[in-house]
Every structure is written in structure tokens, then in C-alpha cells.
Amino acid sequence: MIPFEYSMGLSAVLFGLGVVGVLVRRNVIVLLMCVELMLNAVNLAFVTVADHLNSVEGLLYVFFVMTVAAAEAAVGLAIVVCLYRARRAVHADEISLLKG
């Protein structure tokens, strides 16, 4: 049995990695992956808490999150493809037509 704190800690670390990744990485595909990492960290947290509370609800939420993540990824990749066609760039720094 893995202690509650351990798995919560792991999920926090994963989440942090995702956040830092979004903030520092510049390749848009990697950005998408980092967002996915954040959502999966959340899933881990939900599972851990559900286990801790002996409740099934948290396990259900994981399915919601997975579905939403899939939908998000689908739309997100479509947007990236569209963007690539328009600009031939997958680097966030090059996507700077709109600046004030």
C-alpha cells in the first residue's frame, strides 16, 4: 500500500512539471503534452483521494477528466495543424503576429 502523502506528492510533482513545461517550453506540441501531464497529475490525485476516502466518486471523475482531455487534445491538435498550415511554425515565439 502506497501512503496517501506519497502519491499526492507524486501528483503534485507531476503537476508542477506540467506547469513549468507550459511556461518554459516553446514547441507547441510539447506545450500540448505538458497540459496533458497536468491533467494526468489531477487524475492521479483524484484516484489517491478516492482511495483514501473509500469513495467511488473520485474514480468516476477520472473518466470525465480523461474524456475532456481527449476532446481538448483533438481540438488542440486541429488548431495546431491549422496554425502550421497558415504559418509553417510550431515554435511559440514565432507565433507573434498579434502583439500590442
Partner: protein, 484 residues
Amino acid sequence: MTFSMADMRLLTPHLVITAAALLVLLAEAVSPGRRKGYLPYLGIAGIVVAAFTTPGLFGPARSGFSGMLAGDAFAAFVYFILYAVGALTLLVSDAYLRDEGRDHAEYYALVLLALVGMMLMAGATHLMSVFLALETMSIAIYALAGFFRDERSAEASFKYFILGAFSSGFLLYGIALLYGACGTTEIQGILDAFASNRALAGSPMALAGVGLVTVGFAFKVAAVPFHMWTPDAYQGAPTSVTAFMATGVKAAAFAAVLRVFFVAFQTLHVDWSGVLWVLALLTMTLGNLTAIAQTDVKRMLAYSSIAHAGYILVGVVAGTPEAGAGILYYLLAYAFMNIGAFACLIMVGRKGHENTELDAFAGLGFKFPALGLAMSLFMFSMAGIPPTAGFIGKFLIFKAAVHQGYYWLTIFGVLNSAASVYYYLRVIVTMYFKPEPDTPVVEGLRAGPSMALATILAGLGVLYFGIVPGGLVDLAEQALRYLV
């Protein structure tokens, strides 16, 4: 988990609009000779039907689907704001999309589906349903923002997407932590948990949860410092979508904020009000200061929408039903004035050229008197000058803040409001006080009957709710009475 017909009753308006969205898609497929001018009106018809089926405007609070969705006066009030937003957006989009050659059924269907997401967000009484509603709304809007598929539109869509997905992550992690701390994600349940267990408020997990939820919402309402890329997204998206994002998303997000902060985190007011105090101040000030520096009206309106989020946050900080009623009023007023302003922006553009630079407006006030009048009205309303709805909205929010003793925040708010006058007036200055250049930028207006109707409706709304606000204020207060 079972649900009854009574539950379905709460969901009727959402179902009606979803059906309208599907019908719009289907109608395009079966329309002979590719005639599709009627599609937006099909959508509007759906919204009107939904308005008639909206329950709970005056009744006591009800909740359904095992505490996932409310059918209370609060939700109903926000639904009506959203109906106005949706109908005006569709009206504004019609001529615009046709002119740009993008009048596809998918656009109208996506607007309607995003609207359903917004409505669910306003009605959600469970953090998971808040999240699902948020995603329903956001995913549709990502697609809408990129609908023109040119460089700018795609960039806007991408930036909005990354920002949205990023913020959803924060919100969701916050929800997971609150679930861990409180053992439930129901909004009422969280309130009970915090109320019954004083020690809980001090637990790191609960506080981190509240903090992350706050960050998530701060992204959604574009509060400083979580506003980066919002202006880019607003500027690059099709103008009708920008109007929709600025008003609809804001209304839905603040509705959820009200439920979460006024109900679930009610007992923690001392903890979060300080953080939001700073956020509100930063949001107002930075939004206004950067708006002053803009030379593009569309981008200026984007920054100004950040500033408006700041004023609304002042109401959230105050944290009383009175403030909540003010926020609802403000959201409605903002919907009318902002969509109206964006409609005027669309009108000065032509296919492929948006003409949103400030200079393009030179001399337009006398050249197109109706446009000048409408745009001036919307600008004065956004600046909060009576007798417009924008003034009453600010009045109600600042009133609530003063009531709670937030004198300094109110003073900063009104000073910001005075600063914002500068850039709103600049549009009017350009329209009326500057002569038209020798080679006119705007030769004709992109105005059809639907655009005219939308602008007139928005203008009448701004004036009506500015001059006779009484009934609406009462309704808003009633809406909050059942919430808190």
C-alpha cells in the same frame, strides 16, 4: 444515481438550445440550393423557445441531478443574460460571416453549443459540473476563435486554447485537492464542511485547493497577472466571436465564481478577499493603463475587458448578496454595451480588412450619424457615465464595496474609471473631432438589417437599463437571495 422528470425540467432550456444547434447543422445539409441565410434565425428561435422554458426565475431554489445542477433564480438570471448574449451574437454574426464568406452552419451550431456550456456553468452546483460545463463552453470557443482559419485567427485560437487548457488544469487540481480536504465536490457540501470543521480552513490541502481554484478562475476571467495572451486572442478572433468571448464567457465565469466563492468558500471570506483585493486592483489598473496605450480599437476593447473584469472583482471582494446583485447587473450591462461596440467595429470593416485602427474612425461620426451615435453611447456606457447601464452597474458594485468598508478599493476603482474615460473618449474624439482623411478608409458600412437590429437592441438595452434600472435591480437582488 437516478433522475426524474423534475430534473429534466431544469435541463429543458439547455436541451432546447442543443436541439437548435443540431437542427442548424441538419438544416444546412438538407437546404436546397445552399440557401442558408435563415440559419442564425433558427438559432435565435431556439434561444427564444429556451427563454420561455426557463424555470425558476421567481421560485425558490431547486436543485436536480443529485445536486449537480440548480434551477434557482440566480441561474435563471444568468441564463437570461446569456440568451441576450447569444441572440445578439447571432444577429451580429449573420451579415459579418456572409460578407467574409464564412457563413457555415458549424459556426452557428458552435455558438449555440458554447451557450449551453455557459448556461450549465451558471447552473452548476457541483465543482465537477462546473468543470464539465467550462470545457463544453471552452472547446466550442477554441474552434470559434479559429473559425476564419487565417493566420491571425489561428494564432488567436491557439493562444486562447493553451491559456484555457492551462487554466483548466489549475482549476481541476484545485478541485481534486478540495475533494481530498472536504470529502466532497458539491458546492453546498464544501460550505458545510468548512462551516462544521473550523480546523479545515487551516489545512494546507484545503488552502492549496482554494488557491488553485482561485488561480483557475482568475485565468478564466482574464484577471491580471493571468491575463497574458487574452488581448491577443481577442484581437485575432473574428470580431463577433470576440464579442461573444468577452461577454458570454465573462458572464458564465463570474456566475461560477459567485457560486464558488459566495457559497462554497463563504466562511473563508477573510482568506480569499485579501488575495482578490490585490487581483482586483491590479486587474483594473493594468487593464486600463495598457488600454490607454493602444492604437487599435479592437485591442483597446480587449484590454478594457480586462479592466471591466477588475471592476467586477471589486464586487467579488465585497462578498455580499448586495455585491452579487451588482455583479449580475454589471454583467448584463456589459453584454449590451460590449456587443454593441463590437457590432460597430464590424460595421466599419470590409472583407479582409477589419479597419479597427483608431485612425480609421476619423470623421465617421458625421459621415455615418447613426453609427457615431451608437458607438458614442457604448463608449460612454463603458466609461460609466450616466444615464447608461454602465453607470448603474458601476454604481451598484461600488455601493456594495463601500458598504463593506472597502473605501480604498472603491477609490482606486473610481480613479481607474476616470482613467478609462480617456481612451473611451478617444474613440469619440476621433469620430467627431478629427476630419476624415482625404482618402477615406471606410467608404461604406457593413450594415444589414440584422446588424442594425442588433445595434439598436443593444443601444436600447444600455439606455433602458440606465434610466429605469429599478425592476432589474430587484430581480438581481432576488436572484442572490436564493443563492446565499
